[in-house]
């Protein structure tokens, strides 16, 4: 995995996740603050005023282009390269009111870098394709509004660090698809025909929370178990797929146990649940706000612990294995 490490090691971009993470919460708050400003009707917040005074002078643009005051030129640094290596490239690019980082990347494609590679799809935060790192923080490009930055900020966009680079902002996320295949699937209850399933809303809600996952793999990218330890990928499914096991385990009608499959033990012994030391980084980056650690991983860990130290379970396991 030397290639993806080079990505962030290549430059002095603010790419230290350790340093970024505490700041992330406050930048989100700042985002909300600027959001409420806009909602109160001030054209684009008070911070914009000094910028506007200087903006026409700095960029070499035609001042008579009739751009509204909410439009400005931003300084972007975008990582460009391939598995052989690459670098951060500087761009000056127009930003308009209400835009998100993905809009700016698209503008770069259309006007300055036609072959700039980026994955995207729905542009509405529903498909989880446009994952990347913005100023060192794993985020969806389509859900990161430009208004969360000051006009003078340099916005640095780099590919997901935990996965090998394919080109520019596109990484090879096949690790995730490999892990998905290793998780035993839902086992339908043998005695129920289609249409006979009965479940109460409160019983499906726990698993439903995890099924909100859009598979953006930001949690996989940020999880320190693999982010800086390529060697752990073999034995660690990552938060997304440990959560998938919790989802199936909490499914009211999953019949895995009838087939002798204990999902908790499997998560612990085969998929690396034990590596997780509940730092909650995954929960922090989840664009769907799923409480991965609290609601999926910790309960799984607790049940694994219960099972391990419950003498009856222990005895049961011994007997069942013998048969």
């Amino acid at each position: 995995m030397s290639t993806s490490n080079e990505v962030t090691g290549a430059d002095s971009a603010p790419d230290d996740p350790g340093a970024e993470e505490p700041a992330a919460g406050s930048s989100a708050r700042a985002a909300n603050e600027s959001a409420s400003e806009a909602a109160t009707g001030a054209p684009s917040g008070t911070t914009a005023v000094p910028d506007q005074a200087t903006a026409p002078d700095t960029p070499p643009r035609d001042v008579s282009d009739g751009r509204p005051e909410t439009s400005y030129d931003a300084h972007f640094r975008v990582w460009r390269g391939d598995p052989e290596g690459g670098r951060l490239e500087d761009f000056t690019v127009e930003v308009n009111e209400g835009e998100v980082v993905l809009d700016i990347i698209h503008r770069l494609q259309a006007t300055q870098a036609g072959d700039l590679a980026v994955r995207w799809n729905c542009k509405a935060g529903k498909c989880g394709s446009c994952s990347a790192e913005i100023n060192g923080r794993p985020r969806l490009l389509c859900m990161t509004r430009m208004s969360t930055f000051e006009r003078a900020d340099v916005v640095t966009v780099t590919p997901l660090r935990a996965f090998p680079v394919v080109r520019d902002l596109v990484t090879d996320v096949s690790y995730n698809y490999t892990k998905a295949r290793e998780i035993p699937s839902f086992v339908p209850p043998a005695e129920l025909a289609p249409g006979e399933y009965r479940m109460q809303q409160e019983d499906v809600e726990r698993s439903q929370e995890f099924r909100k996952c859009i598979e953006c793999f930001l949690c996989q990218d940020t999880c320190h178990v693999v982010r800086d330890h390529e060697e752990n990928k073999q034995s660690f499914a990552g938060p997304r797929f440990l959560m998938r096991q919790a989802e199936l385990d909490m499914h009211p009608l999953d019949a895995a146990e009838e087939q002798g499959l204990d999902r908790k033990t499997s998560a612990q012994e085969e998929h690396g649940l034990g590596y997780c030391n509940i730092t909650k980084c995954c929960t922090e980056v989840c664009p769907e706000g799923i409480r991965i650690t609290d609601n999926a991983l910790i309960p799984m860990k607790e049940r694994v612990a219960d099972r391990k130290y419950d003498p009856l379970v222990w005895l049961g396991n011994k007997i069942r294995r013998r048969s």
Binding site: A35, E99, V118, A124, Y197, M199, D254
Partner: protein, 662 residues
């Protein structure tokens, strides 16, 4: 000649959304080795964007529901232009397709009895949409994806190879369906990541590529919706039907500009949301058309009573079919009663508690907070029409999904035409994907099984060479354009510079949006056809920088061919149909005309553009020619299905002649 890797499969499925994955599951379960090829990553298809639900008359919330009621609603929604057989199969099979999802692990919202909950939606007489909050499409795609994985796990256990019988080629694009004589022999594809070409040989190819929205400027559709399957079918010699019918969803976001067009689910209205203009008036009461007068409320009081007691009240007019609501919003804005950003208000904040809104419409709440700084529990949303869905598509056999005229080619889902007539009801798309995805997979498998290994159609070398040349043209566009455009635009020999594909695309989107959009006029559409011809000439010169590794400029340059072909179909058919019906509204022909209900407009490609005919086999000359349009009479609705309607209602749609020949 370029060496191109070839693989042999039984069934190839183009597209991995709801229809494609359902088809793949079926073909694999029939024992066929099945390849799925999709432009995005596995699990990202546009189906994830579907919000409201899957329509299926399970009768879990109102026992009065059954397939006949669903059939009736579907036909009404489509203004009786639907292929009645597709509407019948759809209504009958939808419940089984939904229940089956539960056995694969889907978790729908529940009723108090623990059954699958069902919600109200525009045009549906009873609460009918199985749903998961407002993220039903995600649940559908994930369930199908996980079912695919579970089949792969079975194969792995048996053969040691996950992909022995079912493989997903993700981030790959098909640019040609290859043929051996009349019948399908496979697909020509490139891998987006490496730019590498390859061929999947198969006697059955299922198109499940979705829609065409990316030809329009304001759309709820993702980048994948470039009409690939529509164009592939045309290029392979299969006709398209009903292309004039494009659905503009009434409620897309209108602000900020960068998110203009993103969908605001119809569930907002199904759950009680109301539309108001800048004068705070619930204007939909003024827009109930004559054909629907009996079914919709006339006062706010009556409309509000319906949510709790639907037996004694008529439905709120906010729940009219989408075409009606979209036109109404358009009229209000035009009349100067729009919001500051050119939409109307859609309000749930005054109708439900914040807690209920967050539970029932979580992604809408999230979407507006994140993208527009609007808290929908406290403020109304601003919404306006957005290009959402194409009713038209590949002309197929209703039972099997087989494309007309090209043995071995099948189509299912949005890329196929007929099922929804002139307008699709909300919720009928997800069920369409499952019902007809399964059918196409089944019959594609049947066809493949009938062909032994020795009698498989062969890949034609000339076609292959042409497909390679066509795909490489954007890297050297001007050299090829002279040969390719000579007959097309009469500008042979002009030393014109290469075109930026992004610029051509933007102009195409503007042309379609402004001239063949929600309200249409003859002169504008004629103008659009001229501009499309110019754009086609320019697209042939689309050039790109860089190389073939994950090069979005190149991908777009290739997609332009498809968008231009499909746009021409839409414009040509829309110009021809001199009436207004469903997703086709003519300012100069505002009335629905009963005689027109008997006509399908069928688009096919003019002869000379076909590949491999040998006629114009010069390097790279595969520029699509113009579209030929013909009128075809629809097949008469089966009498027992007609009997499901009151005579008074049929009179509004059917000609006297049709009514008397019963």
């Amino acid at each position: 000649m370029t060496q191109v890797e070839r693989q042999q499969w039984d069934v190839v499925i183009v597209g991995a959304g709801g229809a494609g994955l359902r088809a793949a599951i079926e073909a694999r379960e029939q024992g066929m080795r099945t390849a799925v090829i999709c432009k995005s990553l596995f699990g990202k298809a546009h189906t994830v964007m579907a919000e409201g639900g899957i329509a299926a008359s399970m009768g879990n919330v109102n026992e009065g529901d059954n397939w006949k009621v669903h059939f009736r609603d579907t036909m009404r929604g489509g203004k009786f232009l639907n292929h009645w057989r597709m509407a019948e199969l759809h209504a009958k099979e939808a419940p089984d397709r939904v229940w089956e999802l539960e056995t694969w692990g889907a978790l729908f919202d529940r009723t108090k009895e623990g059954k699958i909950s069902q919600r109200n939606f525009g045009g549906h007489e009873y609460p009918r949409l199985a749903h998961v909050g407002d993220r039903t499409g995600l649940e559908l795609i994930r369930t199908l994806q996980q079912k695919v994985v579970s089949l792969q796990q079975e194969d792995h256990q048996e053969t040691g190879d996950h992909e022995a019988r079912l493989k997903v080629f993700q981030e790959c694009t098909v640019t040609r369906v290859l043929k051996d004589g009349d019948e399908v022999s496979g697909t020509f594809c490139y891998e987006r990541e490496s730019g590498r070409f390859f061929v999947l040989e198969a006697p059955s190819v299922v198109l499940a590529t979705g829609g065409i929205g990316k030809s329009f400027k304001v759309t709820s559709n993702s980048w994948e919706y470039t009409g690939d399957g529509h164009a592939l079918a045309l290029l392979a010699g299969a006709p398209l039907v009903n292309m004039e019918f494009v659905q503009f969803h009434p409620t897309g976001m209108v602000w900020p500009p960068s998110v203009k067009g993103i969908l605001v689910t119809e569930s907002v209205r199904g759950d009680g949301g109301v539309l108001r203009n800048s004068e705070d008036k619930r204007f939909m009461f003024d827009y109930v058309p004559a054909v629907f007068k009996e079914q919709y409320a006339e006062s706010e009081q009556e409309a509000d009573g319906w949510y709790d007691d639907p037996e004694k009240h008529r439905r709120p007019p906010e729940l009219l079919p989408r075409d009606e609501v979209a036109r109404a919003i358009n009229s209000e804005v035009k009349a100067g009663r729009g919001t500051p950003h050119g939409g109307v208000y859609l309000d749930v904040s005054s109708r439900m508690s914040a807690e209920v809104i967050k539970r029932r419409l979580p992604s809408m709440h999230h979407q507006f907070i994140e993208l527009a700084d609007v808290d929908i529990t406290a403020q109304p949303m601003e919404v306006g029409p957005t290009c959402h869905y194409v009713m038209g598509g590949v002309d197929v056999d209703p039972d099997t999904g087989a494309a007309t005229g090209v043995p071995g080619l099948f189509a299912a889902g949005e890329v196929s035409g007929g099922m929804h007539g002139s307008n699709r009801l909300g919720g009928n798309s997800l069920s369409d994907l499952l019902v007809f995805g399964r059918r196409a997979g089944l019959y594609a498998a049947e066809r493949a099984a009938a062909r032994g290994a020795e009698e498989r159609p062969a890949v034609d070398e000339t076609q292959l060479a042409e497909a390679v040349a066509e795909a490489l043209r954007p890297f050297d566009p001007t050299a090829e354009a002279e040969a390719g455009e000579a007959g097309e635009a009469g500008e042979a020999g002009d030393d014109k510079p290469a075109e930026n594909p992004y610029t051509v695309h933007q102009q195409l989107q503007r042309t379609m949006n402004d001239l063949v959009g929600i309200i249409r006029r003859e002169e504008e559409m004629a103008g659009a056809l001229e501009r499309l011809a110019e754009l086609r000439a320019r697209a042939a010169r689309a050039g790109v920088e860089g190389h073939r590794q994950f090069n979005p400029g190149w991908h777009l340059a290739l997609d332009l061919r498809n968008m231009l072909l499909v746009s021409e179909c839409v414009a040509r058919a829309a110009l021809n149909r001199t009436e207004s019906r469903g997703g086709h509204t003519r300012d100069d022909h505002p009335e629905m005309v009963r005689e027109w209900r008997r006509a399908n407009l069928v688009c096919s490609l003019t002869e000379r553009a076909e590949v491999g005919t040998g006629e114009r086999a010069t390097k790279g000359d595969t520029t699509p020619g113009r579209i030929t349009l013909r009128r075809r009479e629809v097949s008469p609705i089966r009498p027992d299905l007609l009997e499901l309607f009151e005579k008074e209602e049929l009179i509004k749609y059917l000609t006297d002649e049709e009514l008397t020949t019963e």
